[in-house]
Structure formats: structure tokens, C-alpha cells
């Protein structure tokens, strides 16, 4: 077996020339950061992870991690697949390593505060240490000022930072002031400062000349792991467990000479939790960070000067001083529309003013008495059209020349049929027309849609639709001959311009209930059109609409991490981009890969704002804050935002593959359930192992236990707080698979505190109805019936085993009986015969149940029919295999006791009862907990993973566990796996823990 791909924690990252060099598990991966291309992935260690890197000018690379160290040529690293033959070992954990200035030696600092000075072949030239101090280090760094002067900064576990001279082996300082372990300490190039961070969440700056503490920086909300000086030692960048990287300015007060650390930038760069590595390329002022989520993130570090240059802001007073326009007291800006030449705004006194970006000038375009006090502004940027409406049923449209200097068309309209207007929406309708909608607060008034020519602004057509009940327009999308209008209460009205008399097709209550903020057409399949719909309350949904059949279906539903959702769209890479407000920020977020693209402090929602995509791919955010108009340019990044997308930042607890069919003919869809409370929907390529993220579902509020596809369209997930969701997946569309919750399993109390540890399902024949067993942390066992048409769970059986936690369950049809199996924390496999407790018959050949159309009712769990202790302690996972002749079935189990076992179940025809016996057991199958097992190759092989990070394949063809192959995995806390048959008789394994990898059998 071999590993095809691996995603997981990246602990260190460095810029070198045009490259980003990252320690990625036991690999060093090299990227061209200008185009994001992975140039090579070279294995440097057999088992250990690369914890640190150093590269010298002559192209030598030093990599270290745990007790491993290697010195290799960069040229080899970029061309070869493996350099493990060069791996050397030290006797202690290496905390830091650096080349000397000449590049012919390396310094290796160990966690016992010892330094080995070695030549490039690894020969130890000298060993240096600080006598009398033997504290273990979590961190340290080495700074060479000259061949004779090398300083060591050593961060102890007791809150002290030891600064010592390497060659003199003398202590300069023990810097005391932090609380708790020191997680990083480093010295500035100019020799002025030492900076350190600790468990106390603060950063301190110290004077290297005197050892005095200069200042403390507070800001991070969790532990800080790494620090780096940059910009001539005037700034610091820090990375933390709180997922952010932060930029700090080292400021010197000229008056009193005091130094301070001021937080100047915060970037949310990784998923929970931990950002480990950071480096800066000062030429481009771009930072690269690496995290536990396996992501490598590039972040443009904004300096204040550039930031200021990208934003202009005006009060009406400013505009007045820079132009001849005069404003009255109390006059304010009521609306605006961005154009390529600049912007058009309207004031509360009906003054339409124009801003020209190229010469930073304001000009009065015209004054409209009709638009005094109340107005709504919209426009079509690419056609230089601006529209205004008021509350008196008037609309004014203006078309400007390309440079914005002249009005080339103008249209004013008054609608007699509306008593009053309170809202207006505008969008381009087709190649030659735009659609403007006007709405009156009077429910009896019609909803008016006006179609105008994009060139002449002449009215082409007027549509007056009957207004649906409880309707208040909030956003607009057009598609073919349909007008889709978003409304309050999470609704959409669809009007047909070819059939005006037809009442609007209404989609109501798509999510909890706030206003629909944005509707976007996604793609068409047959007669069904897919739309993305966002809601201010943070939910986004994908609605598949068949107007012909007057039906729709919500095929995807999810909510954003936090805040208000104002809109979303797919970018050119097919990534879903969301935007809105959270606390006092406006954000733009890559929802597909879960990272922030940009954020702007703007004071929060509840203000006039508009986001425009610029032709170069950047954005312009225009907003009003404290009566000032701000135009903030968010330029398109010159570099890719990520070099590696990564997956979960915390442990993957379960993996499930949709095995029924291939996705895009080159791989399979799978879901991962994580401790981070999310479920990711991804697919992997079966030849390269490459993983593509599709969605991160956030419905669970507690850490996941299990996720499992129970057929080709249903997936079930369970977690603490008694959460169990039935999901339906839809892979009919090109862009992404979609997934949504069909139903939630009822909880046993209003304040659920139980964990649903596992579940298993068996289907009824000819239907998507199934029964499901669920097992709980309080020893409860339940059996439910799910009816697809009713979309309801019915409780069939309930009871409690004892008081211990139940970890696994399986439902097995065998000899015309239905058995419910459970596996406990006490190591028992317990079997219940529930055949007579369900209102269904059994079709053993099909392995399905028969619907006898009986009433469902809830009965008590019967006494167990078999109970066998297979493990000494918790049974971590089980898998079931029924032999083809139906003579027996086997339970493969693995446990906390390092053991694996095969339990054989047979039906005694004489006694007419089931019996079981352990036919094979391997007490030392691993050095620690065996966390998952999957039977594959038609019952001949068994895959196991264990916390000792060894993946094993066992031959189980003769009911005996015979180890066939074993291989180390770099994934720590290895805890989940699934298998699927690949092409050419191979089997693919997905393995998860802290990280994720794809394996393939030979």
C-alpha cells in the first residue's frame, strides 16, 4: 500500500527566493508563490514531522523535527521525491537550528538547552551548554552576530527566557516577567531587542543591551506560537492558537524614549486551531503562515501608507471645499452608485453629485426637486446607468458617457397606479434592457416591473403583477423570462414576464426568518434551475426551481460562521464567496475553502453600503460611517491566497465515502466529521489522492462522533448534545455536490446532554424508508423507523443496556431474524433479537425489511440474547461481514486495550438460537488504542488504524488475524478510516486524525 496524498499540520514555513518552502508532515514542499504551483514534495524524514527549517544563501537547507535532522541541497530538494537516506538523529529533541554565517556549519539547539555545532556532514565539532541550568525548553532560537558572537534565546517552562552566549557558555540574562511556559523567543537582527511570548497570551519586548523589559503587547486570545521581526526591526508578526496572525508596530516615543508595541493589523488566516509557522517576504510584503489545518496561507501585509492610499473618504463639507457645490446644514448623503470613472451620489436635498476618481474631483450633475428627502439609488455599472426613485412613485434614470462627463440619456417616470413607493430594485435583464421594480407599501397595489432600453433608457415594457401576501422586496434576480424577488421572512416570489396574470410562485420560509439578501442563478439541469439564496440571518440555501412544474426543492442549506450575510456568488474557480457584516467589520469570505479574503472596519451593518466587483478582480466597498462617505479599494491579490487549502484544524473523528458511484468519473465524494463541530463535504481524485473541498456544514454545535452514508443519497451524522441529522446529498449538478438536512432525530429532553455514539441503518425494500439503531453515552439503546414520505422518525424500541457508555452498534439480518448489536466501553459485544419488536418482515436475500403496513408503536428493549466480553476496555470500532453462504457473520472489533478480535456468530439449528465465539484475537495488535477497522476485499482483508500511527492490513480470509502489511502514518491521533474499491482491483483507504490521507493498495 502507498500513500497518494496527505493533508495535515504544517509546522514551519519559509520564503526562499521565489519559493515558499514548507515543512508538511515528514515532507518538505516547495511552491512558486507567484502562481501557487507545487513544484516538488520531497520526503526528508521517515517518521518525524519537520518542525523547523533554515535555508542559507548558498542553497543548503537544514530541516529538523523531533530528534531528526538533515542538511540537503535545495537543488536536490526541488527535484527528488525522497532524501530520507540523509536523515540523521540526535539524542534530544531539537528546538531550533540555524546555519552559521559562512554556511559551513549548523547550530542545533536541543530542548535541554544544549547546542551541537556540526559541520554539514553531521559531524559534531563542539557541544555547548549553559552550566547549572537544566530546564526543559519548549522554544528557543539562535542568533549569530559574528562568527565569535552567537546568542541563544531559550524559552523555559518556568516563565523565564535565558539569553546566553554560545561560545562563552555564559548567561547574559534570565528574563523574568512572563507567566507560564515560553513558547517563542527571538532576537532582532539589529541587536536591540529580544521578543518573547508565553502561555500568558502576551508578547514582550526586551532590551538586549540591558535585559530590561520594554513593553508588553496584548491582543491574542489564545497561546502565541511564533514571532518574527521585520521591516528593519520596526515591526513584529505573531501567529497564535487563536487562528490569527497579527502585525505589531514597535514605536519609540521621542519624548520619553519609551518603547511600545501597538497592534496594527489582524488577519484571520487558519481554521481552529493553531497557526504554527510564519515568514515574511519583505520585497512584496507578503506573509506566509502554516497551520494545524494543513493550509498554507499567503497574506498581503498592508502598511498604513498603502492602506491609506486605497481609501478615500469625504464629508459633504470636504466635497464643498474641493468643489463649487454648496450644501445646506443638515444635508446628508442618501445614496450612491459606483462607476468606473468614480461615483454618483445623491443628497437629502436632491443634489446628484459626481466624483471623478482620476482627478479626485467632485461635480454637481443636477438637482432634482422630486428626489428631496427620500430616495433610493441603484445603477448598472457596466452601462454607466444610475437610477433614483422616491416615495412618490417617481423614477429617474440617467445614462452617462464612458468618462462620466456627459448625460447621454435621461428618463423620468411617474407611475399613477401606485399610491406611494417605498422600494426600488434594479438589475440588468438581458443584453439590451434593464429591469427596475417599484413597490408600494399598499398590499392592494401591484408590483411594478419596468423594462428599459440600456442605450436609450426608453421604456420597453411594463409589467404589473399581483403582489403576494406578506411581501416586501429586498433583492432582485432575473433569469430567462422570470423575475425572482427576494423578500422579508426568508421568501422569494417568482414572476413570469410571459404570463403576467399568473400569480407569483412563492417560496416561503427558506430558513429561520430574516430578509432574503441575495439571489443568484447558478446552473440549469433539464428544466430545473438552481439558485443561491442568502439570508441576512446567516443562512445560505440552494434552491432547485422547476417553474414549469411549479415545484422547488432546497438541496443545500448551511450557515456562515458568524454575523450577517448580505450576499454570495461563485467566483471563476467555482468557489463560493460570501460577504456581509460581523461585529464592526465588513467581510468577504471564501466559503468553499473557509478563509477570509478581506475585511474592513466600517462600524458594522445598519448603514448605507455597496460592494462592487472591479474589472481587475478586486473590490470597491463604498459605505457611510458617521456622515462620511468612504470608498475603500480592496485590490486583487497579486498572489494566490493559498498554496494549500487544508482541511480541518482539529481531529477528524469519522470518515464516510459515498461508494455507490464515482464523482466526475475520477474519484469519490466523502464526508469528514470533526472535533471542530463541522462536517466537510469533499471529493478525492482516485489516482492522485487530491482532495477538493466543497462545503463545510456547521449544523452541529458539538464535536462530532460519527458520520456515515447509509445509501447513495442519505448520510447521517451524530454528536454530543444528542444531535443526529439525516442529510440528503445531491450530485446532479456540475459545480458542486449539494447537501441538506432532511430531518433531525428527536432528543429525549429539552436540554439534551447525551452523546449519540453510533448508529446503524437497514432499509425497507423498494423504498428509502429505513430503521436506525442509536446508542448513547447513558447506555440507552433505541431503534427508530424513518419514513421518507412523512419525513418523520418513529421510535420503535427503547431501553438501556446498563449504565456504561455504548460505543458502537450494528443491525444484522441473519436467519430471518433482526439482531441489534452493541459494543460497550466495558468491552462487551451484546446482541438483542428485535425481530418481534418491529412492525416489519424480513427479506434475508435482499438484506432488507418488508413493509407489512402495520402500525408503529414503541416497545421496550428485550433482554439481550448474547453477551460476550471481547475486549478489556472500550471497543472503539466494529465492522460486520456476513459470509456468502449465510452460515455465519463476523464482527471485527478493535479496542482501547490494543487488541483486535474476530467474533463469529452462528445459528444453532438444533437449539434454534444464535451463538457466538471469539475465533481470533490479537492482544498486542498495536502499541496503543486501535481506533478503527474496516473489512474490505470481499471479507478477505481488514484495515486497522491505531494511535501509535501505524496503518495495518490483516488477512482475515480464514477467520484468523494475520498481519499482512503495516506502514507508519504521519497522522497523529489516528482515529478514522473508510475504504472503497478503486480501479484495477485496488482498494482506496481514507485515513483521518489530526490530518487526512489517501492510500491505495498495490
Amino acid at each position: 500500500m502507498k500513500e497518494l496524498a496527505h493533508y495535515g499540520p504544517s509546522l514551519c514555513v519559509k520564503f526562499f527566493k521565489d519559493f515558499v518552502v514548507a515543512g508538511y508532515g515528514p515532507f518538505v514542499q516547495i511552491y512558486d508563490y507567484h502562481n501557487g504551483k507545487l513544484l516538488n514534495k520531497c520526503r526528508v524524514f521517515r517518521k518525524n514531522k519537520v518542525h523547523g527549517l533554515s535555508i542559507n544563501e548558498s542553497g543548503q537547507l537544514l530541516a529538523y523535527g523531533a530528534r531528526s535532522v538533515t542538511i540537503v541541497k535545495f537543488d536536490h530538494l526541488i527535484t527528488q521525491v525522497s532524501l530520507v537516506d540523509n536523515e540523521k538523529m540526535t539524542t534530544e529533541w531539537i528546538t531550533s537550528g540555524e546555519f552559521n554565517y559562512r554556511g559551513d556549519q549548523v547550530y542545533l539547539l536541543t530542548c535541554y538547552n544544549k547546542v551541537f555545532v556540526c559541520d554539514l556532514t553531521g559531524e559534531i565539532l563542539s557541544r555547548k551548554t549553559l552550566q547549572g541550568e537544566r530546564s526543559i525548553l519548549y522554544s528557543g532560537s539562535i542568533k549569530e552576530f559574528s562568527p565569535e558572537k552567537v546568542y541563544i534565546s531559550a524559552g523555559t517552562v518556568m516563565g523565564g527566557v535565558l539569553i546566553w552566549d554560545l561560545f562563552l557558555e555564559t548567561k547574559l540574562y534570565n528574563l523574568v516577567g512572563h507567566e507560564g511556559s515560553i513558547f517563542y523567543a527571538t532576537i532582532s537582527d539589529n541587536g536591540r531587542y529580544i521578543t518573547s511570548c508565553s502561555d500568558d497570551r502576551s508578547i514582550k519586548l526586551w532590551n538586549l543591551q540591558t535585559g530590561e523589559e520594554l513593553c508588553t503587547g496584548w491582543g491574542h486570545t489564545a497561546r502565541i506560537w511564533n514571532l518574527k521581526f521585520f521591516n528593519n526591526d520596526t515591526q513584529l508578526i505573531s501567529v497564535s492558537e487563536d487562528n490569527t496572525c497579527r502585525v505589531w508596530d514597535i514605536l519609540q516615543d521621542e519624548g520619553n524614549g519609551n518603547t511600545s508595541l501597538t497592534l496594527s493589523q489582524i488577519y484571520e488566516v487558519h481554521l481552529i486551531k493553531n497557526v504554527w509557522g510564519v515568514d515574511i517576504q519583505e520585497k512584496d510584503m507578503v506573509a506566509v503562515t502554516s497551520g494545524n489545518d494543513g493550509r498554507l496561507k499567503l497574506t498581503k501585509i498592508q502598511d498604513t501608507k498603502t492602506m491609506n492610499a486605497q481609501e478615500v473618504s469625504f464629508s459633504l463639507e470636504d466635497i464643498s471645499t474641493h468643489s463649487v457645490i454648496k450644501f445646506s446644514k443638515g444635508e446628508i448623503i442618501k445614496g450612491f452608485q459606483k462607476f468606473e470613472f468614480g461615483l454618483i451620489a445623491i443628497t437629502s436635498l436632491g443634489k446628484i453629485i459626481q466624483y471623478f476618481e482620476c482627478d479626485n474631483l467632485w461635480k454637481l450633475l443636477l438637482v432634482s426637486e422630486n428626489l428631496v428627502s427620500y430616495s433610493v439609488t441603484h445603477g448598472i455599472m457596466e452601462h454607466n446607468i444610475v437610477t433614483f426613485s422616491n416615495n412618490k412613485s417617481d423614477a429617474l434614470l440617467l445614462k452617462l458617457s464612458q468618462d462620466g462627463r456627459d448625460i447621454i440619456a435621461k428618463k423620468f417616470m411617474h407611475l399613477d397606479e401606485l399610491s406611494k413607493t417605498n422600494n426600488c430594485l434594479v438589475t440588468k435583464f438581458d443584453a439590451t434592457t434593464l429591469m427596475l421594480t417599484l413597490e408600494s407599501p399598499n398590499p392592494r397595489d401591484k408590483f411594478i416591473c419596468l423594462q428599459f432600453d440600456l442605450e436609450t433608457l426608453s421604456l420597453k415594457k411594463k409589467f404589473a403583477f399581483a403582489k403576494p401576501e406578506n411581501f416586501a422586496s429586498s433583492c432582485l434576480e432575473v433569469f430567462e423570462n422570470y423575475i425572482l424577488v427576494g423578500s422579508r421572512f426568508s421568501s422569494i416570489a417568482i414572476f413570469d414576464t410571459l404570463n403576467i396574470e399568473h400569480p407569483a410562485y412563492m417560496i416561503r420560509r427558506i430558513s429561520a426568518g430574516d430578509t432574503t439578501t441575495n439571489i443568484k442563478f447558478v446552473e440549469t439541469k433539464g428544466h430545473t434551475h438552481l439558485f443561491s439564496v442568502t439570508n441576512r440571518d446567516g443562512f445560505y440555501n440552494f434552491v432547485a426551481l422547476s417553474y414549469q412544474n411549479q415545484t422547488h426543492q432546497i438541496i443545500h442549506s448551511n450557515n456562515i460562521v458568524k454575523g450577517f450575510l448580505e450576499g454570495a456568488y461563485f467566483n471563476d474557480n467555482g468557489e463560493y464567496i460570501t460577504y456581509g457584516f460581523k461585529s464592526n467589520l465588513f467581510y468577504i469570505y471564501n466559503e468553499t475553502n473557509c478563509y477570509e479574503i478581506a475585511s474592513q472596519v466600517c462600524g458594522g451593518g445598519h448603514r448605507q453600503w455597496k460592494l462592487t466587483t472591479l474589472p481587475d478582480g478586486g473590490y470597491m466597498l463604498v459605505y457611510i460611517k458617521a456622515a462620511r462617505l468612504y470608498m475603500r479599494k480592496i485590490p486583487q491579490s497579486l498572489f494566490p491566497q493559498t498554496l494549500e487549502e487544508g482541511m480541518h484544524g482539529r481531529e477528524i473523528r469519522d470518515i464516510t465515502i459515498l461508494k455507490d458511484k464515482r464523482y466526475h468519473d475520477d474519484g469519490f465524494i466523502f464526508c469528514t466529521a470533526s472535533e471542530d463541530t463541522t462536517i466537510k463535504v469533499c471529493h478525492f481524485n482516485e489516482s492522485t489522492g487530491k482532495v477538493t473541498n466543497h462545503w463545510t456544514e456547521r449544523k452541529h454545535v458539538s464535536g462530532l462522533q460519527r458520520c456515515k452514508f447509509i445509501n447513495g443519497k442519505y448520510m447521517i451524522s451524530s454528536s454530543a448534545r444528542e444531535e443526529l441529522f439525516l442529510w440528503e446529498i445531491n450530485d446532479d449538478y456540475k459545480l458542486h455536490p449539494f447537501i441538506t438536512i432532511r430531518q433531525t432525530l428527536p432528543a429525549s429532553s429539552d436540554n439534551p446532554d447525551l452523546r449519540i455514539m453510533d448508529f446503524d441503518a437497514i432499509f425497507l425494500e423498494h423504498s428509502d424508508n429505513f430503521i436506525i439503531s442509536t446508542v448513547y453515552s447513558d447506555s440507552s439503546v433505541k431503534l427508530w423507523y424513518y419514513n421518507t414520505d412523512e419525513n418523520k422518525f418513529h421510535l420503535l424500541v427503547k431501553g438501556r443496556y446498563q449504565t456504561c457508555c455504548i460505543l458502537n452498534t450494528a443491525l444484522i439480518i441473519f436467519h430471518d431474524k433482526l439482531y441489534l448489536l452493541i459494543a460497550t466501553t466495558t468491552g462487551y459485544l451484546v446482541t438483542y433479537d428485535v425481530t418481534d419488536h418491529i412492525p416489519f418482515g424480513i427479506n434475508e436475500t435482499k438484506n432488507k425489511l418488508i413493509d407489512n403496513k402495520l402500525e408503529t408503536c414503541c416497545v421496550d428493549l428485550p433482554a439481550s440474547s448474547l453477551s460476550l466480553r471481547v475486549h478489556q476496555s472500550g471497543i472503539k470500532a466494529i465492522d460486520v461481514f456476513k459470509d456468502e453462504h449465510n452460515d455465519s457473520f463476523k464482527i471485527y472489533s478493535c479496542g482501547d486495550d490494543n487488541a483486535m478480535a474476530i467474533t463469529l456468530f452462528k445459528f444453532d439449528e438444533m437449539k434454534r438460537e444464535l451463538n457466538n465465539t471469539i475465533v481470533s484475537s490479537e492482544p498486542n495488535s498495536a502499541a496503543s488504542t486501535v481506533t478503527s477497522c474496516n473489512v474490505f476485499d470481499n471479507g478477505r482483508k481488514l484495515l486497522s488504524t491505531s494511535v501509535d500511527q501505524v496503518v495495518k492490513v490483516w488477512d482475515v480470509s480464514n477467520n484468523h488475524l494475520t498481519l499482512q502489511e503495516e506502514k507508519y502514518t504521519t497522522i497523529a491521533d489516528t482515529g478514522a478510516s473508510d475504504t472503497v474499491s478503486g480501479r484495477d482491483d485496488s482498494t482506496l483507504f481514507l485515513i483521518g486524525g489530526i490530518g487526512f490521507s489517501v492510500w491505495k493498495t498495490d
Partner: protein, 309 residues
């Protein structure tokens, strides 16, 4: 989540409060003893508890060695608890605030024992966990090795050593190393230790170091140097960094401790699972500690650590 819900979710937390233990970990030692009976040995006299704070293991030791015992039985019995952190007093326990790696500490303990060797040494210590599994496991193993250094200088031949471990990727390496010093090494998991945690305990029985090895604590020598010459080949110093080689690894026998009637630390209990009333809430025995990030928490609470700059 109130005081009671934690009681329901974690019976050992509840029990610790009821029985006046400073931490739930007291049950781990009690359950280890249920199977190994090392604390029931009438000949057990001198006991050392390393990394002892807040002191729940010392409480168990005190209870087992002194409570309800006759004057004859407790004759010569002595418990010494060592930690870098201060500890509030416990009956029959001499607490030392000291560094376990320092030769002076060794001397102080030996003085207290009247220069007699110890019969039993235990350590429930664990370092701060960073989230880097390999580092966390390494630091834990170093902590055990530090405890073992002192143990090697203080434990009588045939004595017992018990310590907390994390069962990660290199645990078999530790088992292999311990195998050079003890006749028998068992990996024991008490029922009170959560199944979801990597935590377990090594119970090393029959201290039996190589006859040609002399153990001497020196503040300037590393753990590796200390154990060099004790057949732990990987710990010797080379002049040239050796090429990678697989470490010696052995799997220790696994043993689940505590009987089936013991509470399951992974289970959620019902109010009516017990006669006693879970609704009576008990205050925690140990008042919350001062975390190093106390000030950061205060700043956060007062809204000073926000996202906006």
C-alpha cells in the same frame, strides 16, 4: 453548564468532591491499587509521590498507608510528596517544594528516609499540552525519564514505579526502555481515566537495574547521559550524528483497572442511577487555580481583546 451537569457527566468528579479528594485523579491510583494491591503491602514503608500537586495521589497514599492502621503497622511509614508548585498540607505526608531533577532534592528525600531506599515511587505529572502530539508525547516521556532518574537513585531493588503516560506513537519506545530497569512493565488504564483520552499508567514492578550501572544525579548531565551505560543504547553520545535507525520498541501488556462495577468515565449517568441525590450540589474541593493567562482573560472579559484594531 452548571455544577450539577458536570456531576452527571463525570461521576468521578462528583465522587472526588464527596470524598474530599483534591482531584478526580485520586480514583486512578485507587483503581490501579485495586488490581495491583501495591499499597496494601504491609511491608510498604517509604513512598515518594513526584509531581504531586495538587496532592490527590498523596491523599490516597496517606489514606491507604495510615487510615485505620495500628501503631505497629504504621511504624517507619513515611510519605514524601515533591512538586515545584506549593501544596497545602496532607496528614502523614511531608511535602517538598523542589525540582525533581536536582541532586539536592534526592538528598532531602534520603535524609527524610534516614538514608533508607524507597519501596514505591509514583508520578501523576503531565506537562502543558501544546497540541503538537509528537512534542507533547516527548515532553511527557522526558518528564517520566526525569522522575525515573530520581527513582533510579532512590528506589530499592524490587521496588515499584508508577507513572502517567500518553499512549501515542512512541509509547512502545518507552516500554522498551523501562524494560531494562524493571522485571515487569504493564500499561494500566483505570476506569476513571476517560476512554477518549490517550492517558494511561505504567506500572513497573521489580526494580532491577543492570548490575554494572551506577546512577548519579548531576545537574549538568542530560537524561540521556544519566541512563547511558544502562543498555539503553540509543541514549549514548556519538561524535557524529548517527543515521536514522529504528528505535527499540516493545508492547507492554495492557490491563484495564477497576472492576466492572466502577463508574464509567465516558458515560452520562441518570439521576435515578444512584440512591444519593445528585441534585445536592457540592462545591469543588480545590478552588480554581491561577492560570498563566489570567490577565488575558480579564482583558477579554472587559472587551479589550477584540478583533478590530
Amino acid at each position: 453548564m452548571g455544577k450539577n451537569s458536570k456531576d452527571k457527566r463525570d461521576m468521578y468528579y462528583r465522587k472526588a468532591k464527596e470524598q474530599g479528594f483534591r482531584a478526580r485523579s485520586a480514583f486512578k491510583l485507587l483503581q490501579l491499587n485495586d488490581d495491583f494491591h501495591f499499597l496494601d503491602d504491609p511491608n510498604l514503608k517509604r513512598v515518594v509521590d513526584l509531581c504531586a500537586a495538587p496532592g490527590s495521589w498523596s491523599q490516597v497514599l496517606s489514606q491507604k498507608l495510615f487510615d485505620g492502621k495500628t501503631a505497629e503497622e504504621i511504624k517507619d511509614r513515611k510519605i514524601v510528596a515533591v512538586d515545584l508548585q506549593p501544596m497545602s498540607p496532607i496528614n502523614h505526608v511531608t511535602t517538598l517544594q523542589a525540582d525533581i531533577t536536582h541532586p539536592k532534592t534526592l538528598k532531602r528525600i534520603l535524609d527524610l528516609f534516614g538514608n533508607e531506599k524507597a519501596d514505591f515511587v509514583c508520578s501523576d505529572g503531565a506537562p502543558d499540552v501544546t497540541g503538537l502530539h509528537d512534542l507533547d508525547e516527548y515532553v511527557q516521556q522526558q518528564l517520566i525519564m526525569s522522575a525515573l532518574q530520581l527513582t533510579a537513585c532512590i528506589l530499592k531493588k524490587g521496588g515499584i514505579f508508577v507513572a502517567k503516560i500518553f499512549r501515542g506513537r512512541d509509547i512502545d519506545m518507552l516500554y522498551s526502555q523501562l524494560g531494562y530497569l524493571f522485571d515487569k512493565v504493564v500499561c494500566a488504564k483505570p476506569k476513571s481515566s476517560r476512554g477518549t483520552s490517550l492517558e494511561a499508567f505504567i506500572v513497573c514492578i521489580g526494580y532491577n537495574p543492570p548490575s554494572d550501572w551506577v546512577s548519579t544525579l548531576d545537574v549538568n548531565s542530560s537524561v540521556e547521559e544519566f541512563f547511558s551505560g544502562c543498555h539503553m543504547s540509543k541514549l549514548s553520545i556519538h561524535d557524529k550524528l548517527p543515521s536514522w535507525q529504528e528505535d527499540e520498541r516493545t508492547i507492554a501488556k495492557f490491563m484495564s483497572c477497576g472492576n466492572l462495577e466502577s463508574f464509567d468515565s465516558d458515560a452520562t449517568y441518570h439521576l435515578d442511577d444512584f440512591k444519593e441525590d445528585l441534585n445536592t450540589s457540592l462545591d469543588p474541593v480545590q478552588s480554581p487555580t491561577n492560570p498563566p493567562y489570567k490577565k488575558a482573560l480579564e482583558l477579554k472579559r472587559s472587551g479589550k481583546l477584540t478583533r478590530a484594531v
